[in-house]
Amino acid sequence: MLKEYDPLKKKIFRVIDNDGKVINTKWFPDLPDEQIVKAYKDLLFARTADLQTISYQRQGRIYTYPPNLGQEAISIAAGQLMRENDWMVPAFREMGAMLAKGATLKELFLYYMGYEDGSAFKEARNMIPTSVPIASQLLHAVGIAYEIKYRKKDQVAFTFVGDGGTSEGDFHEALNFAGVWQVPVLFIVQNNQYGISTPFKMQTASDGIAIKSVAYGIKGIQVDGNDFFAMYKAIEEAVSHAKEGNGPVLIEAVTYRKGAHTTSDDPTKYRTKEEEMEWDKKDPLKRLKAYLKRKKLITDKMEEKLLADYKKEVDRQFTEAENYGPYPVEDVFQYHYEEMPDDLLAQKNEYERFLKWKEARV
C-alpha cells in the first residue's frame, strides 16, 4: 500500500467520501463493526470534551486550552493502533490518542488548570508529557526508537507534529536521524492548514509534507486525515512496516483545525466563513456517523443518549480536577534532581520561613 501511495505519485489516500460512502474497497481496513462503533464513540467523546473545555475556559475555570476540533479522527485511529508497550510522544493536540494510551481527561484538565501533576500521566504506560516547544519532541521519539532497535524490542514509537512544526529544524533533524538509523518511529503530521494564523502555503513551498519523506530515504504517505478508515489503514501499514525493521514512516494527515489555535486565538481574523463551511463538509465525525448510519450500526437516538452520558462524564472529571486542592511548596522544588541540592533546599527553607512569617502577620 505504501508503494501504491508513494508520495511522488501525488495521490492522497482516502477510503470514504464526505457522505461516508466507501470509495476504496481495496484498502478498506479489516475492522469488526464493534471497533468502528468504538471509534465513533471515542470521537464523539473527544468532541464533547473539547467543546465543554472551551466553555469552561470561557467561564474562567481553566487557563488557555488548544482544542482538537476537526482533527479527532487522526488521534482516534492512532490510539486504536497503539499497543500498551508502544511509545506515545505527543505534541499537544492529540487528545484521543492520549486518552487511548491511558491518560485521563482529569489529568488533561489539571495540566490546563496549572498543575504539572496533569502531565505525569500516572497510569499511562510509555507516554511522555506534551511538548510545547514546537517539533522538539520528534527527536525524543527517534531516540526512543533507537532504544527499541538496540534492545530488539517489539515496539513502535508514535510521534505527532503540526504543519507549522515541519518548518522547524528539529523536524528535519528527526527525519534525517531516523532515516540514517532506520528505527521504528512513525511521524504523524497533522496538517491542519494553519500554524496559529499562518496558512500552510506560508510555511513551505513544498507540495504537501509527505513528499518530504523521499529526500530522507524513508517511506511517506499523504492521507485524508478526516477519514477515520484511511487513517487507520495507513497507520496500520506504517506500524507493520516499522515493526518489520524497515524504518520510519512519515504520515501526512490532511485535516482542518475547525477551532482556534488556542482559546486565546481568534480565527475570524485570518480565514473566511466560506473556507470553514467547505471544510465542515469533510468533518470526521459527520463522515464516520454517516457510514455507521448507512450500516444501521447507530441511530440518532443512540447518539443522543451517548452525548448526555459523555457530557456528564466530562463534567464529573472536570469537577474532580477543580477540587484538586492547593499546590504544595514541596512540588515546586522536589522534581528537579534525584536528590535536592543543598542550595536548592536552602531556597525552599527560606521561602517556607517567609510563608510562616506571612501567616503569623495576618
Binding site: W87, V89, E116, D117, S119, A120, F121, K122, I128, P129, S131, P133, S136, L138, L139, H140, A141, V142, G143, I144, A145, Y146, E147, I148, Y150, A157, G169, D170, E173, A174, N176, F177, V180, D331, Q334, Y335, H336, Y337, E338, P341, D342, D343, L344
Partner: protein
C-alpha cells in the same frame, strides 16, 4: 596506578562504563571510526561495536534531542559536542527537555545523560573554539555542570556523571587534554558531583578556580610564596550544584577570596561565588571579594588572545592587592 593525560583518563572512564553497563551509548560528530577530533573516544567503537559507539549526523539539536529520548527509554547516552561553541543549536533540547523532563513528568521520566564538550581558550584556535560559557548551563534549573582540572578528576567525575540520574553537562578544559600527566587508578572510582576540593591549604587568601585555571593559579602561587603570601586553593569541580560550605569554611579561615575564571565577568561564576561569600561569611571578610575573569568581550582570535586569558602574573597582581587591601 597508571600515568595518564586527560584524554587517556576520559577514554578510560568511558571504557569502564561501556564495559560494565550495556545501557551506555556514545555518539556525536566523528566519535566513531575516528575517535573524535581530540581522539577521546579512540578505539571504543572497535571494542564495543557500532551500535554503541558511533558517528551521528552533523546536528547538535538532533544529537541532544535523540539522547533525551534514549534516556527516557532507559539508556544512558554520553554524547559529545565537538566544541562547546557549537552546542547552541542544541540549547533548546537542553533547557526545554533534558533539564525539565523529570519535573514535567513529576519524576516519572528522567534523563540520565551526559553532554561532554571541550571548552576554553589558550590553544590558538579559530573563531568559536575558545569560549568558556559554563555560566549559561549553571543558570539552568535541572542541570548539573561539572569541570575537571586534572586527569584524575576527569575520570572520577565522568564516571559519577554517567552514573547520575540527572543530566550532566561535562565540560572538558581542552587546553589540559595533553598538558599534564599524572598517576590515575586503573580501576573504577567516583568523585561525588557538587563537592569542591581544597587542593592546597593556606592562611592568607582563598583562591577558587576550576578547569584550566587551576594550573594558572598554581603558577601564581609560586610568585605568592616568594612574596610571603599563603594561598588556600580550591578546585570548584562542580559549577552546579555549587559547594557553598567548602567556600565559606575556607573564607572564614583566610578572610579573603579571589575567584579565577576564563569566561566573561558579568553574571559569571565568580559573581555567584562572591555573593555566596557575602551571604555566608560576610563578617569574616577583610577585603572585598575579588574576581579575575575574562572580559565582557568575545575571545579575541589567537593574535590577541593573550590579552583575554588569565596569566600567573595577572592572578598574582590581583591576589597581592587583595591581601594588602
Amino acid at each position: 596506578m597508571k600515568v595518564m593525560n586527560m584524554v587517556q583518563s576520559i577514554n578510560n572512564a568511558l571504557d569502564i562504563k561501556l564495559k560494565e553497563d550495556d545501557s551506555v551509548i556514545i555518539y556525536g560528530e566523528d566519535v566513531g571510526v575516528e575517535g573524535g577530533v581530540f581522539r577521546i573516544t579512540e578505539g571504543l567503537q572497535k571494542k564495543y561495536g557500532a551500535d554503541r559507539v558511533f558517528d551521528s549526523p552533523l546536528a547538535e539539536s538532533g544529537i541532544i534531542g535523540t539522547a533525551v529520548g534514549m534516556a527516557v527509554a532507559g539508556l544512558r547516552p554520553v554524547v559529545e559536542m565537538q566544541f562547546s561553541g557549537f552546542v547552541y543549536p542544541g540549547f533548546n533540547q537542553i533547557i526545554s527537555h533534558a533539564a525539565r523532563m523529570r519535573n514535567r513528568s513529576r519524576g516519572k521520566f528522567t534523563t540520565p545523560m551526559v553532554i561532554r564538550m571541550p571548552y576554553g581558550g589558550g590553544i590558538n584556535a579559530l573563531e568559536h573554539h575558545s569560549e568558556s560559557m559554563e555560566t549559561l548551563f549553571g543558570h539552568i534549573p535541572g542541570l548539573k555542570v561539572v569541570i575537571p582540572s586534572t586527569p584524575h578528576d576527569a575520570k572520577g567525575l565522568l564516571i559519577a556523571a554517567i552514573e547520575s540520574n540527572d543530566t550532566v553537562i561535562y565540560m572538558e578544559p581542552k587546553r589540559m587534554y595533553r598538558a599534564i600527566k599524572q598517576e590515575v587508578p586503573e580501576e573504577k572510582f567516583n568523585i561525588p558531583l557538587g563537592k569542591a576540593q581544597v587542593i592546597s591549604p593556606g592562611t592568607d587568601i582563598t583562591v577558587v578556580a576550576y578547569g584550566a585555571m587551576i594550573r594558572e593559579v598554581q603558577k601564581a602561587m609560586v610568585l605568592a610564596k616568594e612574596a610571603g603570601i599563603s594561598v588556600e586553593l580550591i578546585d570548584l569541580r562542580s559549577i552546579y550544584p555549587i559547594d557553598r560550605d567548602t567556600l565559606a569554611t575556607s573564607v572564614k579561615k583566610t578572610g579573603r577570596i579571589l575567584t579565577v575564571t576564563e569566561g566573561p565577568r558579568s553574571f559569571g561564576v565568580a559573581s555567584e561565588i562572591t555573593q555566596i561569600i557575602n551571604e555566608d561569611a560576610f563578617l569574616y571578610l577583610e577585603a572585598p571579594p575579588k574576581r579575575v575573569t575574562g572580559f565582557d568581550t568575545i575571545v579575541p582570535l589567537p593574535k590577541g588572545e593573550h590579552h583575554y586569558m588569565q596569566s600567573a602574573e595577572k592572578i598574582f597582581y590581583e591576589l597581592e592587592k587583595t591581601v594588602k587591601y
